[in-house]
Amino acid sequence: MTETVFYVFAGMAVLSAVLCILQRNPVAAVLWLVSTMLALAGIYVLLGARFIGAIQVLVYAGAVMVLFLFVIMLLNLGHARPDIRGWPTWVVGAALLAVLVANLLVLRRYSPERVALEYSRSVEFADPRLVFPEARPSLAAADTNVVHGVAAPMFQTWLVPFEITSVLLLAAIVGAVVLAKRRI
């Protein structure tokens, strides 16, 4: 059952992504990208990351995509001319993509057992639960207590990066205002 739902969402994500990059109208492209992100949110929930799934819908499908729609509206790009490049780019792009896909699909063979084996360099410790001991309890916590499971490590282990992120956001706000304003 879980697998069926996963493949439905995966097909939806890939199909929407293809339509997004082939769509001439930018507004339609944004809407197809929203569809990709909603499918990805479903996949996150299936993979046990419920809080991140909710954040994906709120922040990505909600806020970021609305920002894109606003800019398209502001620039009045509703009826854009076709902007897909000619066949030489397609040939080069297809060759590059074939290499890239082959390269990335090797990742599919990733298994924690094998990594644990290489990590420990010993046959006895090939159980990933022994090599990565902290994984299981924190994940169980994330599954029963959705927000707490993510918030506890964020405000304990990763507190300093979290604070640095706020500085980054402040810089982004100031930068966006300075860039978009006609006259300061």
């Binding site: 890939v14 492209a29 620039l75 964020m154 282990t157 810089a171």
Partner: protein, 98 residues
């Protein structure tokens, strides 16, 4: 668990994002393809968080923050360029060409 299929989906989505960057000339669509690539990376983080602990999910949170900041600044840059050049087509944006 679905670790392998998730990583494969992540690879396909990332490649589609690269394809969009290569094939399109509209700056805004290019930007959306970058968002697509970031999402593909997020998916692989979530998939690996199943095995290696909840830290992957925390990292996705940071990636989302950086993506939001990047979208805000990038779209502001696009607005500034559009005001200057009256176009979002990359072929006509060649200010830095000598």
């Amino acid at each position: 668990m679905l670790l392998g299929p998730s990583l494969a989906l992540s690879a396909i989505l990332f490649s589609l994002g690269v394809a969009g960057v290569l094939l399109r000339r509209n700056v805004i669509v290019l930007f959306m393809c970058i968002e697509l690539m970031l999402n593909a990376v997020n998916l692989s983080f979530i998939a690996l968080a199943q095995v290696h602990g909840v830290g992957g999910q925390v990292f996705v949170f940071f990636v989302m923050t950086v993506a939001a900041a990047e979208a805000a600044v990038g779209l502001a840059i696009i607005l500034a360029i559009f005001r200057h050049a009256e176009t979002v087509d990359l072929q006509n944006i060649n200010l830095l060409r000598g």
